[in-house]
Amino acid sequence: MRVLLAGSLAERAGQREISLALAGRTTREDLLRALAARIPALAPYLRLSPETGAALPLLVIAGGKWVHRGETIAAEAEVEIHPPIAGG
């Protein structure tokens, strides 16, 4: 799976693009866990937000469509992951 990181995610990871060997029907959570394991610097993005009490709402898009909690991603998909929207 080809994963493209944007903004501060790429900055933290030190790279914009990562290839992950993941099986078919990988869920969003599987993907983020695999990412955090591969690049520990990304782990803070999985912690709880003090404002919402939920995981920070990373924007995960595969094939031009949202990947929500629990949804699966094809192994050959190109996935974009953007940090939460803040400021403005």
Binding site: L9, R12, S49, E51, L59, R69, G87, G88
Partner: protein, 606 residues
């Protein structure tokens, strides 16, 4: 806080001190909340916003002059000439701190000066000055003129030609060369209607802090929370609000071509790294006591806009004059940003009103005979400075038409153009496409300021990318909670940018230390709910009903054509039912139910 306001009558040139009831502080905190409560006391909600009976209330919050981190905002409350609703407006800077140091919690300006004048407030003294020499000046020149006569520590808030000419979305400019603004809703036109060019405030007193040690502890806790979130703090320092442009585009929520789409094909022009490399000169804090400065000076070094320098542009200005007009020329947006500030115009409403006219022109509804010969096409950055000048001075047919804002202009031009007047209650939208973000749709439709993007907490930032973003059930509760948090920040006078990192925990600690009251999160949320309801009560008394909580038909009938939210529209009537039920408002009228007001201790006679 001091427990009193200074009421200045511009008609009679007199002033009088007035006590503020103690319970107002317990119920409404300060800033936005206290100002709206005072607005109920001082005007009839049906008052003509540009008449002498309207008031301008500059109001202090509990954190002003305490040196609390992020106590960065000054607050102004009035009735808006753009929307006819109650309006609070925020500006970064030191005006609120200076007012608090004068010994007042509010400065209330009423009446109308017979001649152009400006007001100088120094501690407890008020002086009326002749402004005939600076009437007509842009905000930069007028600020320079006044600054020669007052101390460097004084705060100056002033209007430009747009305010003098009663442009419906004229702003008030503060902080000298930074040109921060009380931006939205036409506060500059209210000041212009009072023949008041400027307000100068300098205070030398102090405010009482109940527990200095607890305040120091709260500051340390805030700093730790900030340090624990480098993924938020560092990009804000480096790129400012521009850092989100590419994410919003990827998410399909960057309004483009007058909200036809949520993705801009030339987004590469606005990638933060490119902006940093090509345009940003330095970053700077927009107000005292900011631990993470995120504003930037941008300069154009060459080309047709060479020499243009702005303290910005921020995200909303880039959206309004960039993607929304399909204008990829960042140098033109820097020039436009500063020119709007000099003229005293709100950039969001200016950009979207020009966008409305551009779509009319592209569709053949307006021709060059209507636009005074200007070729108003998408992507034509060269039309912008000319149009801004025409709007500010109400020059020619097009200037006078657009000075009224897109809702009124559409009502005049007709031919279906209301569909792309992207406003609610007459205020043009901030830059969050909401067809795939229904919490944000609630924000736009129900905001008591009009099409404001943030006074209910900017739900798009929290819900985007989640399945709940397009589910009706639960959106009311979600938005209500976000609204309470935002209201507390606006009433404390805290900058809301770090809200996702600090939550209400830091507000609670800072406010409890300063006031000596136990303002835990539950207490703050109750204050938030109370403020939301007195705002709703004000607009209800002004005549707004369920049918006025509306969105333009583009968002209801035209599915979003691209991006992850493609195919979506806003189910507005269902969202109304959901939000009214959540808030305890009458489902038929949208008016707060008596039991809701009683539960919150709101006096039904107001």
């Amino acid at each position: 806080m001091h427990g009193k306001a200074l009421v200045v009558d511009l008609t009679t040139r007199t002033s009088v001190e007035q006590e503020i009831p103690h319970k107002y502080y317990a119920h409404y905190l300060g800033g936005r909340g206290l100002g709206t409560r005072l607005l109920h006391d001082f005007i009839d909600p049906t008052t003509d916003p540009l008449g002498a009976d309207n008031v301008l209330i500059f109001v202090v919050g509990p954190l002003h002059a305490t040196r609390a981190f992020y106590s960065s905002k000054s607050v102004l409350v009035t009735k808006s000439p753009q929307t006819g609703t109650c309006l609070y407006s925020l500006s970064s800077g030191s005006l609120g701190h200076n007012l608090a140091r004068c010994g007042y919690d509010a400065l209330i300006l009423k009446g109308r000066s017979e001649q152009p004048s400006y007001l100088v407030m120094k501690d407890r003294s008020i002086e009326f000055k002749d402004a005939s020499r600076i009437w007509g000046m842009n905000t930069g020149d007028a600020d320079y003129f006044i600054r020669q006569k007052v101390g460097a520590e004084a705060s100056i808030a002033l209007i430009g030609p747009a305010g003098e000419n009663l442009v419906k979305y004229a702003c008030i400019v503060t902080e000298g060369r930074q040109r921060n603004t009380f931006g939205r809703g036409g506060v500059g036109a209210v000041m212009g209607s009072k023949n008041l060019k400027a307000l100068v405030v300098s205070g030398s007193g102090e405010v009482h802090i109940a527990d200095e040690a607890a305040l120091r502890q709260a500051q340390r806790a805030l700093t730790k929370r900030l340090a624990a979130a480098p993924e938020w703090a560092k990009p804000m320092r480096t790129y400012g609000t521009r850092g989100v442009l590419q994410y919003m585009n990827a998410a399909g929520i960057l309004p483009t071509r007058q909200w036809h789409t949520g993705q801009y094909k030339n987004i590469d022009a606005f990638v933060p790294e490119a902006i940093l490399k090509n345009w940003i000169v330095s970053n700077e804090n927009c107000a005292p006591y900011c631990p993470n400065p995120c504003y930037h000076w941008c300069t154009v070094k060459e080309g047709e806009y060479a020499g243009a320098t702005a303290f910005g542009p921020e995200f909303e200005t880039i959206y309004a004059f960039g993607s929304n007009l399909e204008n990829a020329r960042f140098d033109s947006i820097i020039a436009v940003d500063d020119y709007c500030d000099l003229m005293g115009l709100d950039t969001m409403s200016t950009g979207l009103t020009i966008g409305w006219a551009t779509e009319c022109y592209e569709r053949g509804i307006l021709g060059q005979g209507d636009t005074d010969g200007i070729d108003m096409r998408y992507g034509n950055h060269q039309m912008l400075l000319d149009l801004i000048r025409r709007i500010a001075y109400r020059q020619g047919e097009i200037g006078n038409l657009l000075a009224e804002g897109s809702k009124r202009a559409a009502a005049k031009v007709g031919q279906g153009s209301e569909a792309w007047a992207m406003t609610s209650k007459g205020m043009e939208f901030g830059g969050y496409e909401c067809r795939g973000s229904w919490g944000q749709a609630i924000q736009f439709a129900f905001s008591h300021r009009g099409g404001c993007h943030h006074d209910l907490g900017t739900p798009a930032r929290l819900e985007m990318g989640t399945p709940e973003a397009t589910q009706v059930e639960g959106r009311g509760t979600f938005v209500k909670a976000a609204a309470y948090r935002r209201i507390i920040y606006d009433s404390s006078v805290m900058c809301a940018f770090p809200l996702p990192v600090l939550g209400l925990e830091s507000s609670s600690e800072l406010l409890s230390a300063v006031t000596g009251r136990n303002l835990d999160i539950a207490a703050l949320e109750e204050i938030g709910e109370r403020v939301l309801n007195i705002e709703r009560l004000f607009i209800s008394k002004a005549g707004f009903r369920r049918e006025d909580d509306r969105l333009p038909s583009r968002l209801l009938l035209e599915p979003l054509p691209d991006g992850p939210n493609r195919g979506k529209v806003v189910p507005l009537e269902a969202l109304k039912d959901e939000f009214y039920a959540t808030c305890g408002w009458d489902p038929l009228t949208g008016i707060p139910l008596p039991e809701t007001l009683q539960r919150l201790g709101i006096d039904l006679s107001i």
